[in-house]
Amino acid sequence: MTTRVGVVVYPGSNCEHDAVEAISNLGAAAELVWHTKTSLAGFDAVIIPGGFAHGDYLRPGAIARFSPVTGAIESFARSGGPVVGICNGFQVLTEAGLLPGALQKNRGLTFLCTTVGLRVESDGSVLTRGAVPGRVLRIPINHFEGNYTCSRATLDELRGGDRVILRYEDNPNGSVDDIAGICNETGNVVGLMPHPERACDPLLGSTDGRVLLVGLLAAAPVRR
């Protein structure tokens, strides 16, 4: 059976097609899910793609959190389903409270559009389960508000629970503890600022994103 991945689309999301392309090329079936949908039943995994949901108005992800589909994402996540928020998707997950902390403006106050080295810190999440801890992946970033911040207590929880899954080799945006990606306690909800879906084709300069998305797809059938 082909794994079905739901790629959520908010008004203003713009990376959904890249996600669909990457997932399809890896042999799974990806479908766009408009933000007014109230159910994600039938999907094996959910991706919240990058972009500018609701124009990033108020705060990135702040309004998306109240879209009908976000409730469905919460239910899906609570039932153990794999959810990956990429860039704006990570922002939506923190605003929705599915992941702790917040994403702030980059420390240098410039929009970053470049490829960075990400060190795999943990293989305990649905996204990094197939990756080798310590390995460095070359993945593009594309954001103005990628500076991950959280309280000292949250940081201790993340570190203690092996929930920091990716760190920047050379921190470009000021994120606390060089954090590029984290997961929830059960490892099925992941948020990361870099774009693995843009590192799946040799034409784009790196295929290091494949190991991450393949891991997500491998985590999916466990639900059925």
């Binding site: 702040a62 605003e95 902390g101 917040a102 500076n147």
Partner: protein, 79 residues
């Protein structure tokens, strides 16, 4: 009116940038610049207290992100 400010201890690069630019514009002796947001709206309520409560709820659920921001509600009763 709801004023949303970054919580103490949260980095404010916008405020810092503005502060750094001030001497070049001829302003001296100005420090501790921070940038926040102000939201204005009307609330239908039976009392000032009720209006304040509804505004507080809106502030904490949407207008400010409690992880990094504090919200301050001011109720202005129409004359």
């Amino acid at each position: 009116m709801v004023e949303v400010r970054l919580r103490p201890g949260i980095a404010d690069p916008q405020g810092a940038t503005i502060e750094r630019a001030l001497p070049a514009l001829g302003f001296t002796g100005i420090a501790a610049v921070s940038v926040g947001k102000a939201f204005r709206f009307t609330v239908e309520a039976h009392s000032e207290d009720e209006a304040g409560e509804r505004a507080e709820e809106l502030a904490h659920r949407l207008l400010g992100n409690p992880v990094i921001e504090d919200s301050f509600v001011t109720v202005e009763v129409p004359v």
